[in-house]
Symmetry: C3
Subunit: 313 residues, 3 copies
């Protein structure tokens, strides 16, 4: 993918690896315009007459609703396809045939699928743009884009920031993708996790190779004062074979008011949601809590991508 915005027209969005700093800037610039548009007018008619096939092989209310709203706020329409376990797919139809059928009806296809590579397969066969909305343990690029866009919108910069990634860094797909995107910027990383849930070797190697400074620590309390961005994820009890170890560390990765009293004045707390206890509800009114604005940014990013892919940005 080249890096001018025109070049997005007709493309697919499959992986964060497609993006460099220039294309990120281009997308974020449109996403910001989408935010202004929605805040001022609520909606536009940029994609009037266009149809999105929203193909979810596994449920994700959040992502599905976000794409739906993004299309609708640009005046487009959505074909919701949520019950594919019951559809002709379950009668044995291949993914390529499903995709080639849907592109007969729609102008752009969003696909969520439990298998790695499903979105790439869909894009290979489709003549219309395909957006990967999560392919199992693979990628979920629009999540990473909205995460990075949130940093930019909230702090007006990405360079020079210290980003603390917290929780399950081993299995957390969003952490891996956001980390990769952040390598395009001059940031420092603090990776905060239990020993057994550290960042995978390949991701860490990429950070190393890029020359970015980073630290790996086990307790959030010791580093909270340094973070400009606190990116929280959930530490699941089920990941631990030694539950005594779980009990020892579990409170190291919980954000509450006591912890936030040690945080900077100008910083943000992010979370891909859903959360289950790792951020106290008491913090929801803290202006540094950015996770609901982050949700909203998801809609702006998806509006930007839909407009760009359909040549209307």
């Amino acid at each position: 993918m080249t890096n001018t915005i025109e070049s997005f027209a007709g493309e697919d969005i499959l992986s964060v690896n497609q993006f460099d700093r220039e294309s990120l800037n281009a997308i974020f610039s449109i996403a910001h315009e989408m935010r202004v548009l929605v805040e001022r007018f609520g909606s536009a008619e940029l994609l009037q007459g266009k149809i999105l096939a929203n193909l979810f092989y596994e449920p994700s209310t959040r992502t599905s609703s976000s794409f739906t709203a993004a299309m609708q706020r640009l005046g487009g329409q959505v074909i919701p396809i949520n019950n594919v376990q019951y559809s002709s797919v379950s009668k044995g139809e291949s993914l390529p045939d499903t995709i080639r059928t849907l592109e007969c009806y729609a102008d752009v296809i969003v696909i969520r699928h439990p298998e790695v590579g499903a979105a790439a397969t869909a894009a290979y066969y489709a003549h219309k743009p395909v957006i990967n909305a999560g392919d199992g343990v693979g990628e979920h690029p629009t999540q990473a884009l909205l995460d990075l866009f949130t940093v930019q919108e909230e702090l007006q910069q990405v360079d020079e920031l210290t980003v603390a990634m917290v929780g399950d860094l081993r299995f957390g797909r969003t952490v891996h993708s956001l980390t990769k995107l952040l390598l395009n910027y001059n940031v420092s990383f603090i990776f905060v996790s239990p020993e057994i849930l550290r960042l995978p070797a390949d991701v860490l190697a990429a950070v190393d190779a890029s020359g970015h400074s980073y630290a790996q620590v086990e307790d959030l309390h010791s580093v909270i004062g340094e973070a400009d961005v606190l990116y929280m994820t959930r530490v699941q009890r089920e990941r631990f074979t030694d539950l005594a170890e779980y009990d020892r560390v579990k409170d190291f990765f919980v954000v509450d008011q006591a912890l936030m009293s040690q945080a900077r004045e100008r910083m943000i707390v992010m979370h891909p949601l859903p959360r289950v206890g790792e951020i106290s509800y008491a913090l929801d009114d803290d202006p540094r809590s950015a996770y609901f604005r982050q949700m909203r940014n998801g809609m702006y990013i998806r509006m930007a991508l839909l407009a760009a892919l359909l040549g209307k940005a």
Copy 2:
């Protein structure tokens, strides 16, 4: 809630207790305009660019479709969320987080939930208007509003009418809510039910305290000639421990042509639907059978509420 129509903007619709005679008049006046609008033009563009999140934690084709059509006939769009048993809710997400996510995408939220108080919880956390579309054995206020609106539209009055409520008055949520709304008017009640399915003490106490005249009888045949409104509900066999008692009374609460031959010329038969035998199909063409017009009125009431809450009434 104050009683001018402007005051609805931004409010929630959670309970029939929010409404007094003046606010009912205001809503019914808009609903009547919506009826004229649909009958003449089919649809309008009043809510163009607005999005409704239609959040159903339990299925209800009728209510869900009615809200969808209401939004669409005003030019708005709908995010359908029907499979929440499979969604991130089932991954453990709290209702407040679900609501605060959806309000990032939508302008108004309709919620149906099996638990009493769920809609109020949603409204407490939401910054956008919330409409209760049924919270378990709690309330379903738009049903009560459409029921009352149907009386007004069909008979051009509510005062001075005799309203017969028939069937399962003990568990019938729609009966309780409509009865409460009718206390704002000068009506007489006839409560027709088996002994064991009489109106609950608290609802009856409210009728008593308000000074409205009422009677409680066991057989519809004895009172059919007095009713201006016959509000039917289903008597379920499962409610009876003594099946001999069920067999004795079951035909007391069925409307057929023989019964209707004793009814007034100018009166209406209503039913919240679905029916299962308590109204003969042979009566569907009787001009007094108002239950399908009642369905249609549901759409007009919901159009009125959506427009009012979004400040476009």
Copy 3:
């Protein structure tokens, strides 16, 4: 049904038996205009403000999506009703009551139902137009229309063609319906199937009675060179009690490059999809492979029918 296009307004589409050559021409003429419209402009506003209730008692992603896209491309809106197993239908509501409720909200109803005659029942009770989108082993008339339209669009004629129907001709609903429609034209048939999966007696009798020439053969290879249209369907192993027989004949009904090298230059391969092995993927780029264009024609046919039934053609 009379045969001018105006006469479709307010009608139902229940069976291929409603159509004669003149009405087919009228529908195909509109469908072709729809194709031009979509190819040039993507969409139109012909049905703006109109609502389609898309009522699927059994899942069919393909058909459901096709109707949805057809309505949306004409500017209309769709109420998706996919989970009727969970709806008030499952609480015991009758189909007539469901239909009469939905027509309170919508302008046209599409129904897919597992029982023969369900669509006719729906149409009997509805005051709004009803389209049969498949009623069990009954009919699926829009499929037959799109099949025939594909022949017309691809080959610019129907008369004088030799049509080979291949595979499971006994249980293949699409084959029966298309065959009936083709009796309106001067065509020759070749029915290619295993002995036990031959065309049912009543369909064959209709072909016989109409005086059309036909042949019944067991191996596609022997007749491939004569076909202008090759209409493929799937031969399911489960249909055979004698699996040795299945093994003997199964390759007689598979289309691959070797077979197609013996086919005419100007002919088309069709399939209602989904396919499971009966057409090689290697043929997808062969210009004679019309099955994906056939899908797209489904949208055009449904656009034409929706516009015609709603009096906007």
